[in-house]
Amino acid sequence: MARITAGVASSHVPAIGAAIDNKQTEEPYWKRVFSGFEKSKEWMAKAKPDVAIVVYNDHASAFSVEIVPTFALGCAAEFPPADEGWGPRPVPTVQGHPELASHIAQSVILDEFDLTICNKMEVDHGLTVPMNLLFGSPKEWPCPVIPLAVNVVLYPPPTAHRCYMLGKAIRKAVESYPKDLNVVIFGTGGMSHQISGPRAGLINSKFDKAFLDNLSKDPKKLTRISHLEFMREAGAEGIEMVMWLIMRGALDDKVDEVYRFYTVPASNTAVGHIILENKRKAAGKRPAGKVAKIAKIKRAAARKTIDIRRG
């Protein structure tokens, strides 16, 4: 059967994509951000997922105000990068996994999550920036991707609890897929930021740190955060963090935190990143020696001083 082995959360700031596209990653401002993902790329190269499910939000690219689906699952064979007003990002076309995607759609809809099915969809920086951060900038993406676009633009987005429960339904769907696939799920967006109105520039590192801690250890606590609290504490656009809970819901209750990174700022945003692994099942198909390597990475992560400039 297919199995979700790990979850990755990462911010998807558009300026990070611009820094990659304009080859500014070695500049000190950006190096501070990108250096935090070096270990993550190593981890991903070893994790070798067969499929990635990427939970993200569209930013008025594929969806305008004409159609606003709360949850839209990409079931197409491919997803071209969207033109966000400056021409499409120079990244490879994202290959889909229509077979698993339509299986997930059928399963979660019967589990009462009324998804929108997208058989044609372009994807914007919300999806491609986290892929760059974890996969680098290869000529072709190393695995097929199932995009799950969540509305966090038009208030109200789905609640934190709803997102968490959708994650559980996705897990169930993946586990009922007959083929043996190693699936990694991404939650993207956040962390604290506000890019609109006179309060723009808001950052709340204390909130973010607690969110990361609870994401790892006590995610149910996070499912009780109201939209008002998200917007008040983490900024109007910080509400995007509900998407991280879809990822978390798709994992075991107890997980191993493999890696974490946090830095302020990238453009207007606090950059947060975490990698969580399900505990290894006895009959897992990971190569021998993997566990020792994970322990090594974990020790390295623990030693690493997390770059928190404030709070």
Binding site: A15, A60, N204
Partner: protein
């Protein structure tokens, strides 16, 4: 019709893009979407007021667009991910627009972000209600009031 009061109106300096604003701001956002196409950007730049006539905009909305009053656009139903396309048409990034909306210079805003961003302390609530369980005082007038600026 006056805007229906919402709990999140208590957050200072914030225009939540909700169902009511989305309905009122449909024209603003569809105008901004049109700027995804280069030919439309050129047509808009050639004659801004004329181009805006193609969209269902109130005089206040058209005025806010022509004056690049980004806060007013949000207040009248624009959404930042859409209005940012107008910003991009003028050659401005999200961060540039954010500085404009806060009333800062670009330099001051960039420095504030490098120093860790705008603190949430003192920026949670118009009414002084810092915590969801706290006391509520009377709310300030919705549309005219300006927020504290960090």
């Amino acid at each position: 019709m006056a805007r229906k009061a919402q709990d999140y109106d208590d957050i200072p300096g914030t225009f939540v893009f909700d169902a009511e604003r989305s309905r009122e701001g449909y024209g603003i956002n569809m105008f901004c979407m049109s700027l995804m196409k280069d030919e439309n950007r050129k047509a808009f730049k050639a004659n801004e007021a004329e181009y805006l006539k193609k969209f269902p905009l109130t005089p206040e909305q058209a005025d806010a667009i022509l004056k690049r009053d980004y806060n007013r656009m949000l207040e009248l139903g624009g959404n930042i991910y859409f209005t940012a396309k107008l910003g991009a048409t003028d050659g401005h990034s999200f961060r540039h627009l954010a500085a404009v909306m806060t009333g800062s210079t670009q330099e001051d805003y960039a420095k504030m972000m490098l120093d860790g961003g705008r603190s949430v302390e003192g920026n949670r609530s118009r009414s002084g209600r810092d915590k969801p369980a706290g006391k509520t005082k009377s709310k300030s007038k919705t549309s005219k009031s300006r927020s504290k600026r960090g």
